[in-house]
Symmetry: C2
Subunit: 365 residues, 2 copies
């Protein structure tokens, strides 16, 4: 069944998001990064991390509760390592920090082949896939991980959530080969807590492997679900642990109290970010079969994986690319009626004229 | 039920493995790396990748069939990137290449904070966890991936195996914090093909999520299983794809014909390796809670994850550490009766005196 979407011109969206961030005290650079990010998320159909979510997080964890610091300056620590930067973000808006860090990584990769930026005292960067996609579209292999704002996941075999849903995001510059960058981007829990809560509201059982009860026993009862499980048993547990270990080496505090007010006053409760970029030429062995260039080889390998009867398989990043194509075709960002109404509330907060459903063209998608 | 193991002194094991590699034409450096690797795998209880497996692979894919090249020299390509090396291994023994590459990465990380080595025309390095564990024990964060010798895994939603079981291995220098390095190391298929074959031999059903039949339908019938599934649905598929993409950028050929004689004569069928090392100081934000050092912070974070009722959870690398402790306690490498008999065959091949069960002390483990 096609659904009705309202087409919001990017400029109109960006003006509202910019004003909303400005009204909360963020500076010009932060608001620009905030608007750029939300616009990009909606363009590629990442409805879980659009402007509504971004500004809601800022209410729950951010400037509204004094944890995120509008106008904070990034402190770049002296480093004896030429290809590695270490930043103290001082709780600056995550999207602004993430774009700047990825830009720095690309410059380092241009020079050294690989570059990395580690960020302490970080906030939340929302959709890691957006940053690696951006770098991939500029021609680089990119990676990021971070610790989630809260710990909702139990270690494999455990009963108390002491790990975040800790995502990983990888981007590959495959647009010349297949028309879009491959973007591999997901949390290390099987599902997000929001999915469990949705089942609870709708009275539906959870799927096996999603959650445990307060004693650590697997449960499909949404009323008993107390914490999330890592995906893929010990393998997803290992992947979630990687983010906690990077954080531990960078400067993150005890995971069980992250994002809370629990624990000693002098503990840290921030997230950390890690970014890395590789220049594709720094991987190039210059010995491709049949005289292929590197780009031709990438194209041939992907075609082979999706050949031989696998033609219906999707590549990671393909749904985002399709959504981007829809946005391009319709000349704007696509939102549901409920989302347009939420934007109305944001407009009121920012002292802007409310959005009116009737002013937008619609599309059946 | 405790099982009987035969305790083989490391020196005796290494002499046999060295002579076996020498008898196949490998040079002194290669045989030393081969013996070092097998010894390490057995010390840490990696029974799937011990000397018997290593030398068997050399028969199936290696020097015995003319694909691996004893005595080959690694060609280090000129690179304009200071922190990235690109090597053509010319089918030199994988273990020798992997140790040397990890050493090179550590030197690069000392200087640049992060360093990487990409290897084209590679063979098989067996247990990636061994190389990252080695680097972790020397104080570094290490990572490696490679493409498997053969493609046995279907893309998510596909029916033909066009991807390897493509492993990832991460090592973290946590030995000062918890007594051993955390080593996260696994294939991106749910299980190895050997596990499916074992079920077939024993007439046991497969678990759901392991395999598909020739039409790509999930099956638990070992007689119908035609290919492996990635673990964790689209997430494990993405992880397996990462190895294929690194390979495509480095110099790997079409995955569906890797390790086979199929396809055009001028296609490539090699694996590729990718190695990366990070210096822990290059992550250090110098702002740990309660005045902790980086090492103290890592210890506190791990204790927090495994606290709060999670005390019985294992850390990745802990089983290997326990096996290492057993080997240390018993003063040698532990093998089963069947393994000792296999070593007897290797001894005969290398012109060494056969091993006699009666000459070894035993341990009940």
């Amino acid at each position: 069944m096609p659904e009705t979407y309202y087409i919001v011109p990017k400029e109109k969206h960006d003006v509202l998001v910019t004003r909303a961030y400005l009204s909360r005290g963020y500076d010009a650079g932060e608001t620009a990064a905030g608007a750029r990010f939300c616009s990009s998320a909606s363009y590629y159909g990442i409805r879980t991390h659009n402007a509504i979510k971004a500004l809601h997080l800022d209410e729950l964890f951010g400037s509204r509760v004094g944890r995120w610091k509008p106008g904070a300056k990034i402190e770049k620590l002296p480093s004896r390592f030429a290809a590695a930067e270490i930043w103290n973000a001082h709780f600056k808006l995550g999207q602004a920090v993430a774009y700047e860090a990825m830009d720095a990584c690309m410059k380092l990769a241009d020079q050294f082949g690989v570059g990395m930026v580690s960020v302490d005292n970080a906030t939340h960067y929302l959709w890691g896939g957006g940053y690696v996609m951006d770098a991939a579209l500029k021609g680089y292999l990119a990676y990021t991980n971070c610790t989630s704002a809260m710990s909702e996941v139990v270690p494999f075999g455990g009963k108390t959530p002491t790990m975040g849903t800790n995502p990983h995001s990888w981007g590959f510059p495959t647009q010349d080969a297949i028309g879009f960058p491959i973007v591999i981007d997901w949390a290390t829990s099987t599902v997000a807590m929001g999915r469990v809560q949705q089942c609870k509201r709708e009275g539906k059982p959870l799927a096996p492997g999603w959650a445990v009860d307060a004693q650590g026993n697997p449960t499909t009862d949404p009323d008993k679900a107390a914490a999330l499980l890592p995906f893929g048993a010990h393998k997803g547990y290992g992947l979630g642990l990687i983010d906690e270990l990077y954080a531990a080496f960078i400067g993150g505090g005890l995971p069980a109290i992250r994002g809370t007010t629990r624990g000693d006053a002098d503990e840290k409760r921030c997230s950390t970010f890690y970014f890395q970029v590789i220049h594709p030429e720094a991987l190039n062995g210059r010995n491709f079969a049949k005289g292929r260039t590197q780009a031709q080889n990438v194209k041939a390998v992907i075609a082979d994986i999706l050949g031989h009867g696998n033609e219906k398989c999707l590549l990671p990043g393909q749904p985002e690319a399709r959504n981007g194509e829809l946005s391009r075709k319709h000349g704007g960002l696509l939102f549901t009626k409920a989302e347009i109404e939420e934007f109305g509330l944001l407009a009121r907060e920012a002292g802007e004229p409310a959005w009116n459903l009737a002013e937008f063209k619609t599309a059946q998608v």
